[in-house]
């Protein structure tokens, strides 16, 4: 008889911890698209302006970060092969960031870097510290830490570096802390967040979830470690080159390192896809796989900007770059993964002890699939049109693109609410 490994089963995180993040993030996405629709005129001007900063921080914090907080609290047990260290810290993370984010966004929107905005930035930092403590506590409770755990730990550390640096930049507007202007450091603040937090987290989590959802036995720790090193080297290399004022050509080195990392991650996902056990792939996993390909678009924008464009056109390319990141791959992967992870959370909440009493709905039946498909078409149409709008600097095209993205957000919120409010069916 084989010896059973009792206790090998992962304990799922309480749904009460996770759901508030999902609901908050969906409203954040809605706000981001409303702001985009109301302020399409910012596309033609430099990115350091109130509305662009408000939209960017809405998408980065209220949308991207909040949903990653939610998903990662749910997935931490899976990633670190242990248990979430503290529900209390998770609640604190939610409330501190949930209050801090609107204060920060409002501060940007009215361009008042005063007390309200500073309080917002401090609250966000406290929330991130709680999150970091929870990640470290969960990871270091077990003796063994796999590559996915290191991705999450490192991403959480970079997130703290991003928000702390952001706080200093906010304070620097009123009380000089840095040698230069806060604007001079924006690129570093942005890339700490984009590469250090978002990319590392997406690769770390995606490399575990994508094979799991494809029912694929593929794994390649060495490849993931290589991607990990390349991404961190790219980020550190960029920061050094920027701070030391290296010539423009030196920026190609971190770009190439980052690009190589994305290519290798794509290869990892493709290998998992090739050896999958289930032939058919649902729409949500397809969306997530498409979003991985979307990771190349910001690189294209960056290389075009550095190689071909005169300085005058650079700001617009910076807008394309930012748009491709926040409304592109980050949004696309969230649109896919929300309706892959959230139905599991709700299914476990509603049917966990009822499954043996009769036929339960599958997790994918908990949300409205038709609305999901319409949402995807609306998203793709909106995303492509808005890019055209930026290139052509055409207000009507920009408005139509933004309107389609707003429709996407409305449909997304609707499906999130349907899922969150799902009640047990008669079994």
């Amino acid at each position: 008889m084989m010896s059973p490994l009792i206790g090998g089963l992962q304990k799922t995180t309480n749904y009460k911890v996770v759901l508030p993040f999902y609901i908050y993030a969906s409203l954040g996405f809605l706000l981001g698209t409303i702001l985009l629709l109301c302020h399409t005129e910012v596309v033609g001007v430099h990115y350091f302006n109130p509305q662009t900063l408000a939209i960017t921080h809405t998408m980065a914090l209220a949308w991207g970060t909040m949903i990653i907080f939610g998903a990662s609290h749910q997935l931490l047990p899976v990633l670190v092969e242990g248990k979430l260290d503290s529900d209390r810290l998770a609640y604190l993370t939610f409330w501190l960031t949930a209050i801090g984010i609107p204060l920060l966004i409002y501060g940007f929107y009215v361009f008042d870097m005063g007390l309200l905005m500073q309080i917002g930035a401090i609250l966000i930092n406290l929330g991130v510290i709680c999150y970091l403590a929870n990640v470290l506590g969960s990871s270091f409770k077990s003796n063994r830490r796999n590559v996915h755990a290191w991705y999450v730990i490192t991403a959480a550390l970079w997130l703290f570096a991003t928000t702390f640096f952001g706080l200093l930049l906010v304070l620097n507007f009123r009380t000089p802390i840095f040698v230069g202007n806060s604007v001079d450091y924006l690129a570093i603040h942005a890339h700490l967040g984009i590469v250090g937090w978002f990319v590392l987290m997406v690769v770390g989590v995606g490399s575990r979830l994508i094979p799991m959802f494809l029912i694929s036995k593929y794994t390649n720790e060495r490849l993931l470690w290589l991607v990990f090193v390349l991404l961190n080297m790219a980020l550190i290399g960029f920061s050094i080159a920027y701070l030391a004022n290296f010539p423009a050509i030196s920026f190609y080195i971190p770009i190439i390192l980052g690009l190589l990392a994305v290519v290798l991650f794509c290869k990892y996902c493709y290998n998992a896809y090739k050896v999958r056990i289930r032939r058919s792939i649902d729409q949500q996993v397809k969306t997530s796989l498409i979003s991985i390909v979307q990771m190349f678009l910001p690189f294209v924008a960056l290389i075009i900007a550095l190689t071909f464009l005169p300085q005058g056109l650079f700001p617009r390319m910076a807008i394309i770059y930012g748009f491709c990141i926040f409304f592109g791959w980050i949004t696309a992967i969230i649109l896919g993964m929300t309706f892959k992870t959230m139905p599991f959370i709700i299914w476990n909440k509603v049917y966990h002890n009822k499954a043996h009493k009769g036929k339960t709905p599958a997790p994918k039946e908990i949300f409205n699939d038709n609305i999901y498909k319409i949402m995807l078409y609306s998203y793709l149409g909106g995303f492509i049109l808005f890019i055209f709008g930026i290139v052509l600097l055409h207000q009507i095209v920009l408005k139509i693109g933004a309107l389609l993205l707003l429709i996407t957000a409305v449909l997304y919120v609707y499906n999130v609410m349907i899922t969150a409010g799902h009640k047990s069916r008669q079994l």
Binding site: M2, I6, F213, I277
Partner: protein, 107 residues
Amino acid sequence: MNIKTNSNEKCNYALQDLYHVDDPEIGLNIVDLGLLYEMYFDEVDNKLMCIMTLTTQFCPMGDAITTDTRASLAKSFPDWEVTVNLTFDPAWNFSMISPEGRTFLGR
């Protein structure tokens, strides 16, 4: 499907109900998925021990599937003490899926 057991008759009886226990994500029952490894019947003390696995150790539905399996076995053997143990050695793989299961998965 290759379940080790000390009573084929009782095992087959248990399987009738276990065919209704699905992996909710895949939509296929745990018997055809090959998640059941062993089933032992202690007729002296009326004890039933089932050793099973999951498609992955990190399966978010793992708790629900094992609860479901235990409930199904308790339904088949109401007066027996049922224990469901998990093992990941050997790890589940494609070869464990029954021909019917492979057809269901499009393979």
